[in-house]
Symmetry: C2
Subunit: 442 residues, 2 copies
């Protein structure tokens, strides 16, 4: 049989339902999809135009970053370690600085870090998502992009809830794109009223699209809806705003009946342990959600909240915090963490049939990992190596839909030096406003 690309001699971590691991193994790509994967013993049935000898390397599914705001790379590291950061600093920063140009440049810059650390797919919520889409297309990354719907004037829409119209235009403009899935992203239960939450649901269900939303993330939100309805989730459910396709980011403040409700209503979760911890928040019951059958992916959150945009910084933290939460070293064994960082994220974003594992028929979204680094060796267990030892610089090459998007020579889709220069320019425009807001502290 003939294929376009064949990667051979790697340790192949499929993250399929049977946890198949071929060592050494191969993977064959035809067009943008995986044609075959298996042990080297059956590789000889294949001929390929391009053969990559990956001896000594690990081949695994690309990381899926289930929740981020890539354009916020413009602000990374500003206004850290302060109380009520969202309303005191982030919203004002955005109101004064975010425009179409910033979103495009900062997104493109941010995608370099993501591709270079093996992220092949991401879920994003922000303004001007058409600019994020443009950057993602150039980079060659798969994504689910949610245009923000919110009850105050936003950088891309002067009128409250203007994101709905902006988002519907974005959705029709990008319909059918091979990599970009456009959708709507109501900001949060405390910034979008019930009527608009229902309208987002109707518009999205009519188009078969996922919906991205911050849910049960903040303490004031939790207090408000616990007082009125028992919990944030019960409020949303009472308003007809919990439904399959809704991807809840954070989902921190949940009691056992909320977890059952999330499972019953077909919700997915984008768990962001790094940004939640950095905000001093409780630990999302992510393992309990997964046990209840809720698809759980992992997210970095935006670069202002999560800073590092590599999933390596998250995949190890996820089991650690769950072990702490359960006071059980055995909670979330390493392979479950690998699953959440790949297949779990794909499932959470509604792409479970498209990506997230190395199986024939899925898109060839792959990462080659150099396994000979001093931080990774020795390897007794590949899952433990990925979760607890792997660092972003161990990634050797990243493929999306069978196409090489990054290797150690840089991005294939655009000039990454230009992206770096761009973001320095953006940062120079931001410095004055940041200094003004923080009284010069930053």
């Amino acid at each position: 049989m003939t294929c376009d690309l064949l990667i051979e001699n790697a340790a192949v971590l499929t993250v399929d339902a049977a946890w198949n691991l071929y060592e050494p193994g191969f993977l064959a790509v035809k067009g943008d999809s995986i044609a075959a994967v298996g042990p080297m013993a059956v590789r000889r049935a294949w001929e390929a135009r391009t053969v990559v000898d990956a001896a000594g390397k690990l081949l695994m599914p690309g990381f899926v970053n289930a929740h981020t705001h890539v354009a916020m790379a413009a602000f990374r590291g500003a206004c850290e370690d302060v109380d009520d950061r969202l309303r005191k600093y982030i919203f004002p920063l955005e109101a004064r600085l975010v425009d179409r140009d910033l979103v495009y440049r900062a997104s493109r810059f941010c995608l370099v870090e993501m591709a270079a650390s093996g992220t092949t797919c991401f879920g994003d919520m922000y303004y001007f998502e058409d600019e994020v889409a443009r950057a993602a297309r150039e980079a060659g990354l798969r994504c689910v992009l949610g245009e923000t719907v919110v009850d105050f004037p936003a950088p891309d829409c002067p009128e409250p809830y203007g994101g709905l119209g902006y988002g519907l235009d974005f959705i029709s403009d990008w319909a059918g794109d091979a990599l970009v899935k456009p959708c709507l992203a109501p900001h949060a239960p405390y910034t979008v009223d019930a009527e608009h939450l229902r309208r987002v649901r109707r518009e999205s269900e009519a188009r078969g699209l996922p919906v991205l939303m911050h849910i049960a993330e903040t303490a004031p939100e939790n207090e408000r809806f616990t007082a009125s309805h028992g919990s944030v989730l019960r409020y949303l459910d009472a308003e007809g705003a919990l439904y399959p396709g809704l991807v809840g980011a954070h989902m921190i403040y949940l009691d056992p009946s909320d977890i059952a409700l999330a499972a019953a209503r077909g919700l997915s979760v984008a768990h962001c342990p790094g940004s939640n911890a950095k905000s001093g928040r409780p630990i999302c019951p992510a393992a309990d959600l997964a046990d209840a059958g809720v698809p759980v992916g992992l997210g970095t959150d935006g670069p202002l909240s999560g800073n590092g945009m590599d999933l390596q910084g998250i995949v190890g933290l996820f089991p650690k915090l769950q072990k702490m939460r359960r006071n059980d070293r055995g909670a979330v064994p390493a392979r479950q963490a690998v699953r959440a960082a790949t297949r779990g994220g794909a499932e959470a974003l509604g792409l479970g049939k498209v990506t997230g594992s190395l199986e024939p028929g899925k898109k060839a979204d792959l990462v080659l990992v150099d396994a000979d680094s001093f931080g990774l060796q020795p390897v007794y267990d590949w899952y433990a190596a990925v979760v607890y030892s792997m660092r972003p610089s161990d990634v050797a090459a990243t493929y999306v839909g069978g196409r090489l998007v990054w290797d150690r020579t840089g991005m294939k889709g655009f000039d990454q030096a230009e992206a770096m220069a761009d973001v320095r320019g953006v940062a120079d425009r931001c410095r004055g406003v940041i200094a003004e807001l923080t009284g010069g502290a930053s």
Copy 2:
């Protein structure tokens, strides 16, 4: 004035008492010590044999890893995510596999990862510490090495408490070394009886040496001594085994009176948030200890417990867990985390006058960081960049005592490819025993 090495045009993070930050700044090294540090405006007073133009780079104190077991790199990633790992797997692994050769080879291997991620100084507890010392001397890293004293036969001493004699020989053999400070390391309150704890204290005080010990790390230990004495620390104090110079690793199970006791007795703490979380343990009250005046450093713990041996994997987790513990985003602001990872560790190990900050008179233990990585930019605040965004691969060069020990071409003290080959050989010797102990699960 003349010096041997002058690094100029860097952003210089001194981590001195006044938090001086020179941007751009310079640092002059004479012999093994810092002769001057300051803004570029006063650099012209200096001439140097070697001038390094560090434009676009960050110059900061080397990271201090306050608690580890470098030789356990031989076992990294084995037997993960299992209950009672110490007694079921680690002690048997060590009894069957640890010998002089393994300690030397695995240590040398591990020091590459540490030097390459900017660690200039570390505190270590293990067996055959003279072999760790040999590896550290070759690598050129500064260290405090504690020979293990324990109530069962150890790999380097067949009789219980044999480490005492072994350790005293080690101490006299390595006395006065420029980089290696040898000392004793009673394993833990539950594996060393009170009489031997006092004997370790006497021998160490007579020689002016620090003592390294795991303290209040495990739940059974906490239960046992809480039942008998109210807490682990109160037990140790009642037995005359809490004293200045004692460095407690972990120190998880502390109540407010233990914190006051630790401060009153002059203890130091090596806080290991990564390994503690991975064990599903509560959060050490590290910020409370620091507030009480206890020197707090950060450690990775050994590669079997903490896996990645870079401090970048720890310096961000430290504030995150303290913010969670206090439910306060403002807890442990970034610069305090940088301080703990450098100067705090030096103080904890009794080297506060020797290293940990960039000040004239201290040893020139330095890291140059490439600030132009896609994960680090943009930079609005250097402390936030180091704590939340920096990754090991951002390190460009590591100096100890003014000597370059690592740069992107590799280790200067030995052939790192040989160290990699060595550890692969060691791992091949270990695989059978690990598979036997874990029933083939690893």
